[in-house]
């Protein structure tokens, strides 16, 4: 390939990249300006790409609305509790699988646990709906969401923690035994610090999945417990959607995972690829 030919191709590729970038960012840009527009400007027949007026009153409205705040709080409660539970159980099981349950039995068990994450939850949610409905806590509760989010977060946490524990050299733990540390002390003193970055990434991934979850929340809850995705459709006036408020609220709700991703991007690749790609 000649040099000029290569230049031409490179330019074309960069143009393609640019178009994709515009395609990716345009909706986000539009979301941001919409959240800053007054209702009147949004309801015009032709949307404005350069808003005439920008104001923060939509955000003020969100933060003054108890319903919105409660839904964010509900999301925090459910996602944090679920993450803590997934991480705790996943760390224990991941450690056992990585270190102590050897051979085909351990491997098959690990893959079975992982397979739970891939199955469509349709076979889970219908029975659980009826089961929880007959239980004292009912479907519309923190408990039901915290437990049901384990369906996808627990396999992920277990699998990934296993991968991270496998990466931590066994010899360091053995050195600790020879120093005289019992297995429990060695685990906290040596092993856990080694997998700490892994735990952070697992926690973040579990948290983001729980935070973003819509389907279970939509089907099971909505009155006593109402996470933010379920709250969004309530921004209406009659049959009219209040897009300015929806967008402002959405922006607030999506900010935490975005910020976490930007900070912890390096640690997440491993988790997002189920441990296959070392980030």
């Amino acid at each position: 390939m000649s040099q000029s030919n290569y230049r031409l191709i490179k330019t074309l590729l960069l143009i393609f990249l640019g178009i994709w970038l515009v395609f990716t960012l345009f909706p986000l840009y539009f979301m941001i300006i919409t959240s800053l527009k007054p209702v009147e400007e949004i309801n015009r027949m032709i949307p404005t790409f350069w808003p005439h007026t920008l104001k923060l009153s939509n955000y003020a409205g969100i933060f003054a609305d108890p319903g919105s705040l409660k839904s964010l709080a509900d999301s925090v409660i459910v996602s944090v509790a679920n993450t803590a539970l997934s991480l705790l159980l996943g760390t224990l099981a991941g450690y056992a699988l990585a270190r102590w349950i050897r051979g085909a039995a351990g491997e098959n068990l690990a893959f079975w646990i992982l397979s739970n994450r891939m199955f469509p939850p349709v076979a889970v949610i219908i029975p659980m709906f009826f089961l929880f409905d007959s239980m004292p806590w009912g479907t519309d509760s923190y408990f039901s969401l915290i437990v049901l989010y384990l369906v996808f977060n627990l396999p992920l946490a277990t699998w990934l923690m296993m991968v991270f524990f496998r990466d931590a050299p066994r010899e360091l733990e053995e050195a600790a035994y020879l120093d005289g540390f019992t297995p429990l002390r060695a685990f906290f003193r040596v092993t856990l610090p080694l997998v700490f970055p892994g735990m952070i990434s697992v926690a973040m991934l579990c948290w983001i999945f729980a935070w973003n979850e819509y389907l279970f929340a939509n089907l099971l809850t909505g009155t006593t417990v109402k996470t933010f995705p379920v709250h969004i459709p309530t921004f209406t006036l009659g049959s009219q959607s209040l897009w300015n408020l929806i967008m402002a609220f959405s922006l607030v709700a999506m900010l935490p995972p975005v910020i976490l991703f930007i900070i912890l991007r390096r640690y997440m690749v491993r988790g997002l690829s189920l441990g296959v790609v070392k980030g």
Binding site: P169, E171, L172, E174, A175, A176, Y177, L178, D179, G180, F181, T182, P183, R185, A186, R189, V190, P193, L194
Partner: protein, 364 residues
């Protein structure tokens, strides 16, 4: 009370690694195990440490059977080939680790760690982390972590194999002078025969399944009990010439099976070789062949240089004579061109004779 005993120890994974291995290392003894990589040296250490359970047999520390005792209650200290330093702790904390396990008070920990650090000359590094120090310093830190524990048994797994030649000289000397290692039983594992010969009070040469020969440095190097031992110790490797005994007009001759090399035998060798009753494998160390002047005994005149390398303190000549290729140790100052004719002399009394079938030393 710190003698180490192994009785009929067996360990295998998909194949047997240690087969009924018995060994006693006396208190204060520095015992070196040498053998090719992958032969099970590390497995043996791990069995002694308790990181692996033996399949059969007993491990005894100072008269106490510890076969079923977990590693954290055995009071054995071990350095790992990879050093296994805790990356998230400073050098100080790494060395202090065994004392922390014993929940020793802070002042005593400080005192003990500083003492060991002074002994190993790593005091300036105590605040650094393992990734900030050199290989030799890592090795010293790992050693410090074992010394500070005052254990009943020292287990050292290839402690200096991955370091540069210069540092190895320095650290070998350190192992010679550390008095603490002479207090109890020490087992040192290496694949480098020079390290083994230099350090071991006794040396165990390990082959498939267990120790092939146990003895002093001179025993294993000069009187190997099998061709396996002879082959593993020595660089360049021992020359192996398969020969057949023949009598040539009343004179007993050893004649090489390939090519046409032959040596006349004297009476004692003859008595020895008649035991063999089959072909003999003659082992000739490269330093027992030399480039000779005319007139010296047991020599060949028609050798030809195949290759020559001047290494550090020695030169290595590969010469071909009568269809047999021989490695010869020379001075590095000499120079040989390929194809050049040379005259070789042999120290016949230093030859080793092995059974051609089983490889046993016939003199043993």
């Amino acid at each position: 009370m710190a003698r180490l005993e192994l009785q009929q120890v067996c360990k295998g994974y998909d194949r047997p690694i240690l087969d009924r291995l018995s060994l006693t290392v006396e208190e204060g003894e520095f015992f070196v195990i040498v053998g090719p990589s992958g032969i099970g040296k590390t497995t043996l250490l791990r069995c002694i440490a308790g990181l692996e359970v033996v399949d059969a047999g007993r491990v005894i520390f100072g008269g106490k059977d510890v076969t079923r005792v977990p590693p954290y209650r055995r009071n054995a200290a071990m350095t790992f080939e990879s050093y296994a330093l805790y990356p998230h702790m400073t050098v100080f904390e790494n060395i202090a680790s065994p004392l922390r396990a014993r929940r020793m008070d802070e002042a005593s920990v400080r005192k003990a760690v500083l003492e060991v650090a002074r002994l190993l000359r790593i005091e300036p590094l105590l605040d650094r982390r393992p990734h900030e120090v050199s290989g030799g310093q890592k090795q010293r830190t790992a050693l410090g972590r074992t010394l500070v524990a005052k254990p009943d048994v020292y287990l050292l797994d290839e402690p200096i194999s991955h370091l540069d030649a210069k540092i190895r000289h320095e650290l070998r000397r350190q192992f010679h002078t550390l008095q603490e290692l002479r207090r109890v039983a020490t087992v040192y594992v290496t694949h480098d025969y020079a390290e083994a010969l230099s350090l071991g009070d006794r040396i165990g040469v390990m082959g498939d399944g267990g120790l092939v020969q146990v003895g002093s440095s001179r025993d294993v190097f000069e009187r190997p009990n099998s061709i396996f031992v002879a082959r593993h110790l020595g660089q360049p490797s021992i020359n192996e010439v398969p020969c057949r005994l023949s009598s040539d007009g009343g004179l007993l001759m050893l004649r090489s099976l390939e090519g046409n090399l032959s040596f006349a035998m004297n009476g004692m060798q003859r008595a020895l070789l008649e035991k063999a009753r089959s072909d003999v494998l003659v082992g000739i160390r490269p330093q027992h062949i030399h480039v000779a002047n005319a007139g010296s005994a047991a020599q060949v005149d028609n050798a030809r240089v195949e290759a020559f390398e001047a290494l550090g303190a020695t030169g290595v000549l590969i010469a071909e004579t009568d269809g047999v290729s021989l490695t010869v140790l020379t001075s590095p100052e000499e120079d040989f061109e390929p194809g050049q004719p040379v005259r070789l002399g042999f120290d016949v009394e230093q030859f080793l004779y092995f059974d051609a079938v089983h490889g046993r030393n016939l003199q043993a």
